[in-house]
Assembly symmetry: C2
Homo-oligomer: 340 residues x 2
């Protein structure tokens, strides 16, 4: 078996990639002559059976590869759970590689999955897309072999499908709502500059700017410690306050960070939400663990996952599916903010 | 390639399984004559290269298969994280299958992993071992092909290695400590009857019994809802109290359930720990999320994972390793119990 890709077939058969894809997916919109050209190349080069080959009745393992940076992250773990359930319901097995956060490990994990003859790779979380095009080459290369699905990241390349939550708008609305409740010094607390992380920050900035409240960089606090160390998060806010930073609201990029703000308020003797209003993100299990319970943004993870699987199943059966789909989040109000 | 196992080789070569293993792992403690017998059988039947074959320089994918019931469970997710890190540090990739909780899905997930030519399968969590021997056949079968490692479950079979936390003693000690602090009506709150679940319950029962406090079954409350629904957990305790059940302490089988008890106390206006003392299990992220912070049992998950990988690496390089290793847990005292 060779490592021939859909691109190689396209080149050798002298037809477009889309045509090869149609043939491989068993579409009827291809002439017999074109179909023969493609099949001849495939037979000649013993094209490795994979997802594209399903339409030809070649053997597929019915296995989907999943990748996430860190399965101990609550949000990613939940996404894995939904996706695995949905795949199983569709008759697919799944195998997961935890890639870590650095590019080299991601490339390696991608190689592992592709070598396991998966029918598609699903990248879970927004850390897989880089600003430099060359850093996204591992995705383009993988997509030359199997469809690549992105959960909460967007990237435009052939055979890559993006399902994203509108993090910008969610953060914009949460910030605007807090401003309208009478708070003008709102601290933004974040720990990621991923695709999603940047969109969230931009939502906060835009809302503050529109209200003439974007003054100094100090109100944007980046946290670089462990995502489980609630005390360290609280300490960082405590130190910022000791240095004279004044804030009566915290918008956090995830629920863990928001709990850090709750911890800070409790240690400093601040009333929530009267002295400090707090909004988290992800609407996770953690929202019900603290007192008062945490207002948080539900970014509709389950819906995102359902749509991702629907899109993938469409792609695997040769249908044309949207390359990018965007869902809106929703603010779930609890005790850490003023009721509307 | 055939699906020949180490057992088949042993039988056809007329040598013991241990000897086949030694040959396959490249050990020097085998005579040339015996080695030849084994290699002849392998060559004759085109034995599928796998972990045992590494010693012969046959191709290994250096991939370990992991299985867990549900990656969105905090404890399991953490275990996956540690194990993946440790495997990577040892030059191994890993692929994970989330099997769900029913036996048929577990058997299926095992087939998937074995079909991916993994060098070993690690079963994470204590739900993989059943009381009936026939229900554990999928593990025995897998172990005939590759070493099977159990994290926090114990099962005695060839090529199966168990690394367990002493859940019985941990629960026994936590219960005894609470009794000594002056509480005699201690409720046990649990949601699993797995290997580990039964050991924990037995620890509580034994401590209560030894102090003449084991009176009725009511104090042992089984919760069957979602492991994320803190409110439902709290409601169950509220209903039990309304029906006249009296308890001034709660020992919970995991931190989520303990937070349900915290929620119940807050809603009922009970002071923690004065009116209700609470102990959780796993010493997870959740312990620092509530007020007061949660006393919990640290069952040394990271140590367990480290030892599991050390054992596995030993097995894969042909060393004789202990079949069962037991670690002790430790009570981490925080605000939900009286200090000693």
């Amino acid at each position: 078996m060779t490592n021939m890709t859909i691109y190689d077939i396209s080149e050798k058969a002298g037809v477009s990639i889309a045509t090869v894809s149609r043939v491989l997916n068993g579409s009827n919109n291809v002439s017999e002559k074109t179909k023969k050209k493609v099949l001849d190349v495939i037979n000649q080069y013993e094209y490795t059976p994979n997802a594209f080959a399903r339409g030809l009745g070649l053997n597929s393992m019915n296995t989907i590869g999943l990748m996430c940076a860190d399965s101990s992250d609550l949000y990613l773990a939940k996404a894995i759970y939904y996706i695995e359930q949905l795949l199983r319901a569709n008759g697919y097995d799944s195998i997961l590689c935890c890639s870590g956060y650095d590019l080299e490990s991601k490339e390696k994990a991608m190689d592992v999955l592709i070598s396991k003859k998966v029918d598609s790779v699903i990248l879970i979380g927004s850390n897989y897309i880089y600003e430099k095009d060359e850093d996204n080459k591992y995705i383009v290369d993988a997509a030359a072999q199997v469809p690549v699905m992105l959960l909460n990241a967007a990237f435009d390349a052939p055979n890559v499908y993006s399902i994203v939550s509108d993090d910008f708008t969610s953060m914009y609305e949460a910030t605007t709502q807090m401003i309208h409740s009478g708070i003008s010094d709102i601290l933004y607390f974040y720990n990621s500059t991923s695709y999603s992380g940047k969109r969230k920050l931009a939502g906060y900035r835009t809302a503050m700017e529109e209200h003439g409240l974007l003054k100094s960089g100090n109100l944007m606090q980046f946290y670089s410690g462990s995502h489980e160390d609630i005390h360290a998060m609280g300490s960082q806010l405590e130190k910022a306050a000791e240095k004279g930073l004044s804030f009566h609201g915290v918008i956090a990029a995830d629920d863990n960070l928001a709990l850090g703000a709750v911890k800070y308020a409790q240690n400093a003797g601040l009333r929530i939400p009267e002295d400090l209003a707090i909004v988290g993100y992800n609407n996770s299990l953690l929202t019900t663990c603290c007192t008062p319970e945490l207002t948080s943004i539900d970014n509709k993870l389950e819906t995102l996952c359902q749509h991702l699987i629907t899109t993938l199943m469409g792609v695997l059966t040769g249908n044309e599916m949207p390359k990018k789909t965007i869902f809106s989040g929703e603010i779930i109000s609890r005790g850490t903010t003023f009721s509307k």
